[in-house]
Symmetry: C2
Subunit: 263 residues, 2 copies
DNA sequence: CGTCAAATTTGACGTATCGTCATTTTAGTT
DNA sequence: AACTAAAATGACGATACGTCAAATTTGACG
């Protein structure tokens, strides 16, 4: 429904003002942006209900109170719509990441926290995860407006900034050291690749093999621990109970996990 | 063209017998299988030329000497065709893996060899890589014949068997040890996730940011080394020059790399 | 309040693609 | 040569993308 998100985050919804007087005073740009958000929400619903392949411009037209022409006024093509969903998706992820500011722990635990959050997000919104993926496909990029591509890029920078932060912390407090010839960027990339690969494969395994959530519960933790141990990020997993961190995170995100269970 | 492959591997091509007499003696099943291979080759061409999104049943019909009905006799839907391309793609990968039997090195080097090969494959056939991905999508799986899905599963097992082999070697020669609560399967999964994630992100980065091949040349090696160091697989990267292994692999696959350069 | 021009919205339509199926053609047998 | 079972054909219906001329709304001005 896309509703869970707003509730959990107390998302500011640009509250619709019921007085037409108020409406009239609203600037045109605002109205357009509001309607675009409305359309993206509808598209989000369609995608969660009918899957990525079930997303159709005609369906969006029928599910919205607007006509085809108006829809195409917002999204120049289906690909543009997918990109719009991608930015929406990235926004959700960023909002989740922002919650992590309240999470306590050492710097390595913070990296785990980022991964935990990302996994949670992937499981809550597997189809949006797909949207983000395909939005970075040449075929899609070519057909989305340059402005929207710029927005995606900006959002992606925000996301990586979140990751960078944890690594900078590690460098700052000395628990992580750079060996010669390896930049921090390389470490962040390795971390991201591990998280991405693990989540992508797990989502897949779930679809193909029916691997249960319980079985895959600690797969990501394991993989990331291997990686961070390999980076010599102190304290090593042999010296610290990161399983405990994982459980702390489950508590921290109890609301979201509850949503996940309910399916 | 898909031709590079047959040349390099001296792929048995079920050579077409020019004598009609010979043709007549051929069993029906053989003829069907042959035509299917022919069609997949054409589809492969279309995909490499026009990209994944450019693959169309009508295009395949026009590019082949057969009619729509016949095509649909082979592939019950477009999704089925994608799955067929996926099995084709996996076969290519397996063929490449088989070459590795001639590669010398310790067991950890063999893991690197598997990753090197997989990366090479991803770079040579990025769109086929996409095919394999989307073939594992629920939307596609639902619409492909059970038999073909079974074939995919079998091929995937073959691929993972290749990976398993290197890990079993490590366990056998004592350079890799299992800690409690972690099965070999978990290690293989971690390895695969790292390779998959790194390659997927690199392909993407290439498309989006224009990251050059040179820049990403050693990214995978770095990531895998972190991982295997984290697994305590001896000898550690601090004690052994795996860069050298990587270079040996470049030499070993010189033919393929040359093809890659030529683009 | 009425008029008019610019901006916006509308939905019917053109084109492309998927997948079907009645008809035709081929292959094999007697 | 006649006949039947299997295979191939391509016209056709359905669905989806994207366009554009016409209709509607907006808001500026007298």
């Amino acid at each position: 429904m896309g509703q869970w998100f707003k509730q959990l985050l107390k998302f500011n919804p640009h509250r619709e003002c019921p007085l037409s007087l108020c409406m009239n005073s609203k600037h045109k740009q605002e109205k357009v942006a509001e309607r675009e958000a409305e359309l993206i929400d509808i598209a989000h619903d369609i995608v969660t209900k009918d899957g990525f392949a079930g997303l159709t411009m005609d369906k969006l037209v029928n599910a919205s109170p607007y006509s085809k022409g108006t829809i195409y006024n917002h999204f120049s093509s289906k690909e543009d719509l997918i990109s719009a969903l991608s930015t929406h998706s990235l926004s959700l992820l960023i909002e989740m990441f922002k919650k992590l500011e309240d999470f306590d722990g050492n710097s390595r635990e913070h990296v785990l926290a980022v991964h935990f959050t990302y996994q949670l997000y992937c499981q809550l919104e597997p189809t949006l995860f797909l949207c983000v993926l395909s939005a970075r496909t040449p075929a899609v990029m070519e057909k989305t407006s340059p402005e929207r591509n710029a927005i995606i890029k900006k959002k992606e920078l925000e996301v990586t900034a979140m990751c960078d932060h944890a690594f900078q912390q590690g460098l700052a407090d000395g628990s992580l050291k750079l060996s010669t010839g390896v930049a921090m960027h390389d470490l962040v990339f390795a971390s991201w690749a591990t998280g991405f690969g693990t989540n992508a494969l797990l989502i897949n395994a779930k679809a193909v093999e029916g691997v249960s959530r319980l079985e895959q519960k600690y797969a990501l933790l394991r993989n990331v621990n291997f990686l961070l141990d390999g980076m010599q990020w102190q304290p090593l997993s042999s010296e610290f109970d990161y399983h405990d961190t994982w459980k702390k995170l489950e508590l921290f995100f109890a609301d979201y996990l509850k949503l996940l269970e309910e399916r």
